[in-house]
Symmetry: C3
């Protein structure tokens, strides 16, 4: 199974992986189907959102931090309970249609690996299912 | 690929599309598999929730607005950062099993296109994968 | 379609179902593909998160309760609007790759049925798609 290796450099970060996903779809030779992305981590996520203005990603991470404060009398001693909740809110998988060999992403959509407890080395698994 | 065209009329809105998804599944002739729904927009989402009492949808949109305020010192100049976060929280895709030609939705479940930055014209893509 | 029957015992609860999902994958004999999990309820969800330290689950449910208060002047008379929002935030479906007959879950990942309006009897549907 194709896998993308990543390295995050900040506590919270959204790393765009659209091109690497496109390359995996190209390489598979599958023209029509879906691509399934999965990250095997519990303090990370995969999401699809705007990749035109980097301020969107900045605002999204800021809003999430306000919603789920880093500390809040949590029991889990590792101190990353907020990251676990963010992971489940955005979700550790995403699925995108493939048509004529292309992802059917919208004009402003990019695929992001979301780091919520970095910096760390991370993985993203790619499964491509034909129609 | 079957596509549903939609038009939203409010800033925030949940538009039920269950019947249109059912029609696409019927037309495909596929009896067992999954239907994958994907919206190519960054300020919209797809979700499955109650379609019996319209107050549920009203409350859900109200709660989301309280959680992610429309303005909050965001950097993104288009002023729709809240909508981008809501999009990633609910997600731009959904997947439902098909069994004996029917969606296996529960009694109270309906499929919703979620608008978070309307009114706009929108698209929803439908991919049906056989088992 | 394989289905898991569950019984929740609390208002909010995350019930691990990883082993039962693994058993369904084993029984299918499918070695490479994806497993799709779907719950036909509107006040429940499926998520993947840490299964090593039970404090993580405790903190996640606490954080969600702080985010989406049980009462807040909601219109829906059943009084479970908060549970409906939590359901859409975590999502009623999840998809995991299968490789060499195994779920490709990370070391710390477990699959959870999330109850947000228990105690109740619940269902979780399992669809396994070969590559």
């Amino acid at each position: 199974m194709p896998t993308i290796s990543l390295e995050s450099h900040h506590k919270n970060e959204m790393i765009e992986v659209t091109d690497r996903v496109r390359q995996a779809v190209d390489k598979s030779g599958i023209k029509d189907g879906i691509v399934h992305l999965f990250t095997p981590h519990t303090t990370a996520a995969i999401t699809i959102n705007e990749n035109a203005d980097p301020d969107v990603v900045h605002d999204m991470l800021t809003i999430l931090d306000r919603l789920v404060p880093l500390s809040g009398g949590y029991r889990h001693l590792e101190g990353n309970s907020a990251a676990h909740v963010k992971s489940s809110m955005f979700g550790c998988s995403e699925t995108i249609p493939i048509e004529n060999g292309q992802l059917t992403l919208g004009t402003w959509q990019g695929v992001y690996f979301c780091e919520f407890d970095g910096p760390r080395k991370r993985q993203l698994q790619i499964r491509i299912l034909p129609l």
